[in-house]
Every structure is written in C-alpha cells, then in structure tokens.
Symmetry: C2
Subunit: 333 residues, 2 copies
Amino acid sequence: VVAVDANGADGGPELVAEGARRSGVDVLLFGPAARMDGCAGRVELIDAPQGIGNRAEPARAVRATPDASVVQAARAVADGRADALVSAGSTGATLAAGLFHVGRLRGVHRPAVAVLLPVPGRPTLLLDAGAGVEARPEHLVQFALMGAAFMGAAHGLERPRVGLVSNGEEAEKGPAAVVEAHRRLAGLGEGALEFVGNVEGGDLTAGRADVVVTDGFTGNVALKLMEGTARTVVGAVRGAIRSGPVSALGGLLVRGSLSGLRDQLDPNAVGGAILLGLRSLAVVAHGGASADGVSAAVRLARRAADERTVERTAANLEAAGALRSAATGTFGA
Amino acid sequence: VVAVDANGADGGPELVAEGARRSGVDVLLFGPAARMDGCAGRVELIDAPQGIGNRAEPARAVRATPDASVVQAARAVADGRADALVSAGSTGATLAAGLFHVGRLRGVHRPAVAVLLPVPGRPTLLLDAGAGVEARPEHLVQFALMGAAFMGAAHGLERPRVGLVSNGEEAEKGPAAVVEAHRRLAGLGEGALEFVGNVEGGDLTAGRADVVVTDGFTGNVALKLMEGTARTVVGAVRGAIRSGPVSALGGLLVRGSLSGLRDQLDPNAVGGAILLGLRSLAVVAHGGASADGVSAAVRLARRAADERTVERTAANLEAAGALRSAATGTFGA
C-alpha cells in the first residue's frame, strides 16, 4: 500500500486522484474528499482537506498542522498502514513530515533528495538535489551508498557506477570535503561500491556514472541549470526552425520526431524526486506533474518498496562501515 | 598592444598566429618562430618555443620555466610593452603567470575566471568559473563588482544587473558564505551596484542577470554542465530528426537555420575566459578555438584595455568600500 498526499499539485487533488487510480497500485489517498469523488477499488480515500504550501517553513508547518494531508500520509507509513509515501506537493514539507513521523534510517546522518536526470536512454541519479546546502565527507559517502542501493533495487542495476562531482577528474581536485570524500570512497573497495572517481559537470549528461553525488547546494543549482539549458536550447531550435519559410516547412516534417524527444526530456516521465535515508521510501512528484506523472511516482514507490530499497540501503551502509555511530549523533537515530 | 601566447592551442601556433593576424590589432606574438612564418605587419614575433601543458601544476611550472611563452607574454605586460595578455593555452598557467608577473590589482583578494555564457541573444557573465574552489563572502562581493565593471567597460552596459547564485530566491537561502554575501551586496546600495538578489540554476540561461556570481567550484560545474547539456540536447534533436525518412527530409530543410543556431551556442564565438582582478586584463581563448576564436579573444582584450576595464574595476571596488585592507593581506597587494 502506498500513502499518497493529494494536496499541492498544480493540477489539484482531482489530478492526483486520477494518477493514483491509473497506477493500479493499492493507495491510501489523503486529500479533500469533496474534490476526489469516485475514488474506489484500489484507492481508499481519507478526508484531509488541509495542505502545506510551498511558502511555509516546512518543519514548523509540519509540527503546527498535524492534520495536514502530508502529515497524515507520513503517519500512515509510520503506523505500518502503508509501505511508502508519495506527494505532489512541497518537497520540503514531505521531507519534514518524513523526518518527524517516519524517521531517519538507523545510522543515517541526513536524508538526501535524489532526482533521476532526464538523460535520454540512460537514467542518472543525482543526489543531493537540495535536502541540505553543505555536506561533510561522511554525508557524501552515505549519499553514494544510498544512491547505489536505490539504483540497484528500483532500476535493477547490478553494479551501479558512482561518481563524485568535482571541478576536475584528479583525486585532489575540489574543496576539502570533496577531496576527503573521494579518498574515503576510493578506500571502500569494489566489493562495497563501484566508485568511478570524480565526474565533471559535462559528465552528468554523458552517462559516465549511474549515480552522481554532490552537496545539496551544487546539486540544486545543477538540476535547475540542466532544466533551464534544455529549455533554452529546445526553444532556440524551435525559433531557428520557424525563422524562414523553407525551414518552417521542414519543421512540419520533423515535428513528429521532436515530440517523441520532448517526452524523453520530460521530467514528468521520470517519476519525481526520491527521498533517501528515511525508514521508508518517499517520492515527490513534480508539482506540475500530469496524472501519468503522479501514476509513475506511485508505481516507483511501490517498486522500490517491493525491491526492499530501504533494507538494501541499510545493508550497504553497514557493509561499508559507513553507519553513523550513536555517539556522534545530535538527535534521533 | 596585446601580448599573445601562441602555444597550447589544439590547432597549434599556426592557428594562433593566423587568429592574431585576423584581429587587426597590434600584437606581440610569443611562440615557436619556426611554426609561425609570415608574421608581419601588426604582428611582431618573439621566438619562445617552450610551452606549459595542461597537465603541469601551474604555479610550479611558471616558476620553473621563465622562458615559457606565456611567462614571457606576461612579463611583456608587466614591463609595459603590452596592455593585455591573451593565451589559447592552459587557464591555470595563464592565471599563474599573470599573478606572478602582472600581479593582483591593489585591494583584490583573489582573481576570478569569468566566462560569457553562450546564451542566445544576451551574453551573461559567470564568475568565478574555477580560479578557486571555495569563496568567502568578501570574495563573492569583489567578484560582483569586478564582473559589473567588466560588463560596463567591455560590453557597454550602463547598469549591469548582478545576481548571486543560490538554491532559492530568498535572501536566507544557501550556505553561510552565500547568505552573508547576499547581505553585503544588498547593503551596497544601488549607486554602487545593481544587485538583483539570488538567482537559481534555471535563471543562468534566462537572462535574469548580466553578471552571475558564485564560487569557483559551483561555477566550474555549472559551466561544464551547460556545455554538456546543450551538446546532449542538440545531439538528441539531430538523432530524432534522422530517425525516419519524412523527418530526415524535413531535416534537410531546417539544416540552414540550425547551423546559424550552432554559431550562437558556440563558445568559440564569445572570446574565451576572462581573468579579472589582475593589474591588466587577460583572456584565455578556448583550447579548441578556431582562428576566428583567437581573433575574437585578441579583440576582446584590446577593447577591454581601451575601455579601461581595470581602472573601472579599481574605482568600483573603492567606491563600494570593498578593497582588501593591507592588514588582512597574506602576501603581495
């Protein structure tokens, strides 16, 4: 069973309900009952009209509104009524609700937001895409192991190749935290992780690694920059094609092929942001997701739970000796 | 007069010599005389066969090889025989030669590598693109003022809009150094700088600012990521067009328009990386630059010198009260 928060999507709770129905997955749907008529079959509706907006300070909002749909959905996971959490609302609120009610996986310093980059033909997982803004070496090491476990479980990759984002391929390139993380990752040994070394900005779209690890600041800037650059280039291509009559005629002939491309580059198709490092998986669909986008997010959460992503993550961290020791913890565990 | 280092370009010293000739600028050309026959007119040739490769540790190589072409070219600027420095070789070696022989501008903490992003229609200056890997708030403030002075001088912008790269628009978003830099930039007042606040990754290609400021690690990753993403998207467009006979026919009709687009997105056309914060301007043409790319770099250096970029930078820093005080300096000044 997947717990789904229906509030927060640009298309409204109706669209999320439709996506939940299409997924074919057993769903507990938390949202305004009045706007989700006709939920039946595999979708069970729980009336939870209150949402948490993007503008709110997430941790505070989650504490202040225990009845908010995303908080109720997180509690359903914590209680064992559901195995995974999906929201099309705020990533921050979903993360905060997950942290407070589902909790961090034992030994994890800090959860990370992971995103499948829309690279045609070969999905590449980028993390952290913005759960934090700075990362210590031990955070980066855990991100690497968490990302590898996810790509192994949910995407069936036998030995996901993991790269560390830096400003050069050499081990000594980058800020001190990156250099130290490189040293630790290289020291894990191939049994624990297939570490391919540093990857540069240009490698993120080139398929050099299946998982690319960075701090949340760089990851957030990189993700939005990729989207912006792709949008700008596609727009420039469209503008160039329309710039003259001969080329506009050619444009009619290439239109079909280019629309297929648009789907490949569409963040909706990939399933959303994945929160790793909690006691169960959470997926945040793109706020502008279509019903199919929501459906893909629900199915991804279901598959990740079936493939025991969280258990594999715990085993990976333990095998690599990368668990946070209780003594160094500041709160929770 | 512009001092040009002819070693290090992928196309060899011949190509750099040809670029220098095409620029129509008075040039002192440092390189292997045997490979640059026929230099005459406005190009004066100085035999300097030794180059510094990309693999060398720049500071060490510059000290160890005083006869290297880039070192001789930097000395020509220091001696007053030339007003600006151009190289198509290693950015690191050019920066090191500039630091040792030309020197930092008084009151500058650290020079920055600035790059004009190939955004169609509106050049956006990104800095630092990799002179350093970490940046303190005072560095980011100086980058903002240096970038604004350059865009004012070399691109004729009356009041360049300056943005600070972060993971959200709000002033409190980002790592501590970014939050503090935001506070200081906002406090400078509109007379000193047109600060538009934080810009996100997606804004870099959207023309929201004329100058975008970040640390050298993020800037390096962002620049290479933009290039990689543009390459991937253009490749995907090409592949999609070739995927069927109708669309391939259409492809023949749009080819002319798309080749114009390629020029707009071509880093060669923009002129190279610009080193800001030295006592004179230095430009590093892309290693794979064409002769026209080298020529554009030489003309950019000439124009920046004519427009007194360095003097304007010094005035900007002084007016904003952002000069490094002698007491906090660690060496030189």
